[in-house]
């Protein structure tokens, strides 16, 4: 700790930060533009000027940039010195010379850092009388709007986009006072993380294009802390609602998880909630059509169904909350509850869970991944499967070059200097996947079939073990050289990381990853293993240890149940349609709770309208085993209800189980924790509903929320009482404690004078550190550390063979190719995301295509060979698809897109034959 003196007040601060960060961390107001906690300092905007004095006697002092001056013991500065104040006002005046008269029609207005800083510096009157310079805008795709006139040339956008996110199609052009930030021509921004520009840009140049379609000011949004539902990483988000629809998603800082950034799927996928297709009323199948019912009728009907059922089963879902899954388990009984995933995924996730639990390598949080200085990725195309992790790994590759800078005495936050030292240096990242990935440009790559990749992993594990005895000899064989290089890089790293997942459905790949982690952990306790999980609650569902869909089908086939209750799940996406039919069509009664129509709701007898993440409270368990609470942002129009409430009411309607007495989320959690002790820490994920701040609930609406007495006046001039919230300490109101709530309950970041998202600074215990009171979330998995060396179970493989088994002649292996926009079910409903979903295709390596006499765009017949590997009995499918040449695809493989909205791919990997369509 160092003592600094600010305006004659001594303060204790951390020494390894800039003065600006220190001042902001102390809660002092000091304007800035070009600095960002995640990007560091470059000293470009000159907005953060303060006076620095030599000692007590020095009265003249000198102006310095706070963001470029390191904290030093005894340093004396003044923020309020008239000269500093005048200097900062002058800077703003300069920046505002050509600023357009746009605030009323600018989407940033009301949460604009430029507005805040202008007010803070006191610049109020325009003296510049000449003409303003103007720019033309560009069309940057469906997510980000562009209005260049508003730019203040702080360079934050390009620094984030190019240096942090590693994409190069956004740049600074031209010169002098005409510097232009955009692309060389109109077109969709290539980065999957471009949406963060909306928050990075301190002005209204880059704004959320999806918000524009239903524009609402921040002060008018009813907001709540939530968790992203579009992959398994569980990034924290803030949901904003107005007039019953979700208006936008912004990042919710969690120092352990997503930090300051989200991916575009997470930020722009929310519009599925607002779709007109939403199921908004209970529906009953009658004469081949679904007719609407009232909630009472539906519950009565459900009660009758349950009473008359001769055996019923419940099918849970990895996209539903723990509470909803548990409520279903309670309704049908633990022995009749099945995980809503196929046997294969069930096995893979189970294995993954075992690996994480056993350790000794620990599974890191996303923030820890950013600190990993060497990484091996086995099989996962992270940008398309677990996007935010790809961004974290990218930062990991900067760790070793940063070490060079540290040795030269340069602090990490001195961004420009660090980059000057590091140049293009990157730490080791090895990516072994079937197809090229978006991280390839900073990685060493290895291509092959899933088996090849697993073998590669095993070979690396062995090489690491060998390297602990003797240095690895160089090898002339390319593959062996790569294996040795990988092993060396991982073994010599401070915090090595192995990443794998289930996207290629290969158990041996998971085992290989575990072996590598194991080999590393023997000599380095900092070694880590991270597994990407596909859905928001994949791991949570797995921890309930319910059997897979195949067992559910078995139960129905045996006739021991005739009623099925499906929770937020489309079984036809999970399994072979024959298996889904076995469950759904053989059962006499099918009840489905969901929010959007699907093949499953189409065959249901009774459909209940479930609430989406914005309309429910619950808990998800992310890939790291972190339980995170998401809170309801708004009360949907009746009779839409959160799933666990429907199920509790169903229990009441049929006199079943203690669930009938559940009044709120705490009751469900209490019952869950006592039934399933593994979920013990889940209650700590957020304070319970009885929590109060200064005796009051925490308001979801900013204190400037407008229109309360007019919003609903068209329906009835007498304003209704705001709805109660029995489930959380938050209120659907603007009244409540004006204090900073604990991390898990922050509905939005706002602080007096700080209307933009930069107010996050005020909620952290130190800049870019944890939120005050700790980052939210409770970890359920902590492996025992390695005290006694244990031997992993030997999986039997030992060959160094780097080719999988040869396929039969004329048959190739089809592997799934994932798309950040398209492969995930819910986000594909969002119109903006839908624009970027690719059309179904078949991908081949150009050489393979040439050998088959096929050309790009040609229609190709793909037939799933009946001799597919065991357990892959897709319905003998045939597809006619346009050929896409993928130069990065390993030769001998065929790529088919996974999970696209209008395309049911075969279960992969599968053997397929390829021929010209006649």
């Amino acid at each position: 700790m160092a003592t600094i003196v600010v305006d004659n007040q001594p303060y204790q601060v951390h020494p390894d930060q800039s003065l600006l960060a220190a001042c902001l961390g102390l809660g002092l107001d000091l304007p800035y533009f070009c600095w960002h906690p995640a990007l560091g300092s470059v000293g470009a905007c000159r907005q953060c000027a303060v006076k620095q004095f030599r000692d007590e006697k020095d009265t003249r002092g000198r102006l310095v940039m706070a963001c470029m001056t390191p904290v030093a013991e005894g340093i004396r500065i003044s923020i309020d010195h008239p000269e500093a104040v005048e200097f900062r006002a002058g800077i703003i005046e300069g920046l505002m010379q050509s600023h357009p008269h746009d605030c009323p029609v600018c989407d940033e207005g009301g949460e604009c850092h430029l507005q805040d800083m202008t007010v803070m510096t006191g610049h109020a009157y325009r003296r510049y009388e000449f003409a303003k310079r103007t720019f033309r805008n560009q069309d940057l795709g469906p997510f980000v709007a562009h209005e260049m006139n508003r730019c203040i040339q702080c360079y934050r956008c390009v620094r984030y986009y190019r240096e942090y996110a590693g994409e190069y199609d956004l740049n600074a052009f031209s010169l002098r006072n005409q510097v232009y930030f955009g692309r060389s021509e109109d077109g969709v921004l290539e980065s999957e993380f471009a949406g963060n520009l909306v928050e990075i840009c301190p002005t209204g140049v880059f704004t959320d294009k999806t918000l524009k379609r239903h524009y609402t000011r921040k002060w008018d949004l009813q907001m709540a802390p939530s968790v992203c539902v579009h992959c398994g990483l569980g990034c924290n988000i803030t949901v904003g609602e107005r007039y019953g629809t979700i208006r936008r998603i912004v990042n919710r800082y969690n120092g352990d998880v997503n930090g300051y950034f989200l991916c575009d799927r997470g930020r722009f996928g929310y519009e599925f909630v607002n779709r007109p297709e939403r199921i908004r009323r209970p529906l009953l199948a009658r004469d081949g059509a679904l007719v609407p019912l009232t909630a009472e009728e539906a519950l009565k009907r459900l009660g009758m169904l349950l009473a008359s059922a001769s055996g019923m089963i419940g099918i849970g879902s990895p996209r539903a909350s723990l509470e909803a899954n548990f409520a279903l388990r309670k309704l049908v009984g633990a022995g009749h509850f099945f995980a809503g995933v196929g046997e294969r995924e069930h096995r893979l996730v189970g294995l993954g869970l075992e690996i994480l639990r056993k350790g000794p390598a620990r599974t890191p949080s996303l923030a820890e991944i950013e600190k990993c200085d060497a990484a091996l990725v086995l099989g996962e195309d992270l940008t398309n499967v677990a996007p935010r992790m790809a961004l974290a790994l990218r930062q990991g590759t900067r760790q070793q070059p940063m070490e060079l800078a540290r040795q030269k005495g340069i602090a990490d936050w001195q961004d420009d200097h660090v980059r000057e030292v590091a140049q293009d240096e990157r730490g080791p990242l090895v990516i072994a996947t079937p197809n090229q990935t978006r991280l390839d440009s900073i990685a060493t790559t290895f291509r092959g079939s899933p088996d090849d990749l697993a073998l590669f992993g095993f070979a690396v594990a062995r090489a690491i073990e060998r390297s602990s005895q003797a240095p690895l000899e160089d090898s002339a064989r390319h593959e062996q050289a790569l294996i040795n290089e990988t092993a060396r890089a991982l073994a010599s790293a401070k915090r090595p990381l192995v990443v794998a997942g289930i996207s290629l459905a290969s158990e041996s790949m998971l085992q290989a990853a575990a072996k590598v982690a194991w080999a590393l952990a023997k000599s380095n306790p900092q070694s880590a293993i991270s597994l990407a999980t596909p859905e928001a609650n994949t791991l949570g569902l797995a921890m309930m240890e319910a059997p897979a869909l195949e067992s559910a089908a078995q139960t129905i086939r045996e006739g021991s149940a005739d009623t099925v209750i499906v929770l937020e799940n489309n079984l036809y996406r999970r399994a072979d349609s024959r298996l889904a039919d076995d469950v759904l069509k053989r059962a006499k009664h099918v009840v489905v709770l969901d929010f959007l129509p699907s093949e499953t709701t189409a065959v249901a007898e009774l459909v209940l309208p479930a609430g989406t993440f914005g309309e429910s409270d619950g808990t998800f368990v992310n890939n790291e085993g972190r339980a995170q609470r998401f809170l309801q942002a708004f009360v949907p129009e009746e009779p839409v209800l959160e799933s666990w409430r429907w199920l509790a009411r169903a229990m009441a309607a049929s006199d079943r189980g203690e669930g009938a007495a559940w009044k709120n989320l705490d009751d469900v959690l209490g019952a869950m924790v006592s039934a399933l002790p593994v979920f013990g820490p889940v209650r700590d994920a957020a304070p319970d509903s009885g929590y109060r701040m200064a005796g009051a609930k925490i308001p979801r609406e900013p204190h400037r929320y407008s229109g309360r007495t007019a919003m609903l006046a068209n329906i009835n001039v007498n304003e209704p009482k705001p709805p109660d919230d029995p489930d959380s300490p938050l209120a659907f109101s603007m009244e409540g404690a004006p204090k900073e709530p604990p991390g898990a309950l922050i509905p939005f970041f706002w602080s007096p004078g700080w209307n933009s998202i930069q107010a996050t600074n005020k909620f952290q215990s130190e800049i870019a550190g944890p939120l005050k009171g700790g980052n939210p979330g409770a970890r359920l998995i902590e492996p025992p550390s390695l005290t006694v060396p244990r031997q992993p179970a030997d999986t039997g493989e030992t060959t160094l063979l780097l080719r999988g088994p040869e396929p039969p002649a004329g048959v190739c292996l089809a592997v799934p190719l994932y798309h950040i926009f398209g492969s995930e079910e819910l986000s594909s409903w969002a119109p903006a995301v839908r624009e970027l979903v690719p059309k179904p295709y078949v991908a081949l390596n150009p050489e393979d295509a040439q050998a088959l006499g096929l050309a790009e765009g040609q229609i190709v017949r793909v037939a799933v060979a009946t001799s597919s590997p065991p357990g892959q009995s897709k319905d003998g499918k045939e597809f006619s698809l346009a050929l896409k040449l993928a130069s990065g695809l390993a030769s001998g493989l065929v790529g088919l897109p996974a999970g696209l909205p209008d395309f049911r791919e075969p279960t992969m990997p599968a053997w397929v034959t390829i021929s010209k369509a006649s």
Binding site: H101, P104, T134, S174, T216, W219, T709, V717
Partner: protein, 171 residues
Amino acid sequence: MLSLLRTFWEILKHTFRRRLTVQYPEEKPYLAPRWRGRIILSRDPDGEERCVACYLCAVACPVDCISLQATEDKNGRRYPEFFRINFSRCIFCGFCEEACPTYAIQLTPDFEMGEYKRQNLVYEKEDLLISGPGKYPGYNFWRVAGVEIGGKGKGDAEREDPPTDVRSLLP
């Protein structure tokens, strides 16, 4: 006795004074143009809706009786999709008019809004929008704003240079 007479005298004197009572409603009082009564939404000199749906009036309103939703036409011109004032709540403070950056919302010298049913005091855009510029002729926000709308491109606003040519390196 004396006091009684004085009373009669006073009354007699008043008979010749100027009358202060106004025979409302037959006779209308004079109200200054800045009088704060019934709120209207005005149009710009080109006859287009002035309101740009910025929500500033709504947020300034101390009783929160204004609600609206912004939308855009295909040329990027923003306007309110609906605009509602609940006059049964309005206290005619005029903050909304003060907050409005476009002179769209104005209070008028009209107070004759009595209703038997409170619901009738909820005014929608159709009830609020008038056909002229109200108290402030001449001003058109879009002529000074930097955004493009149909018929006005970049650099066409008042005191704007033509758009920069990003590809030119000439000074």
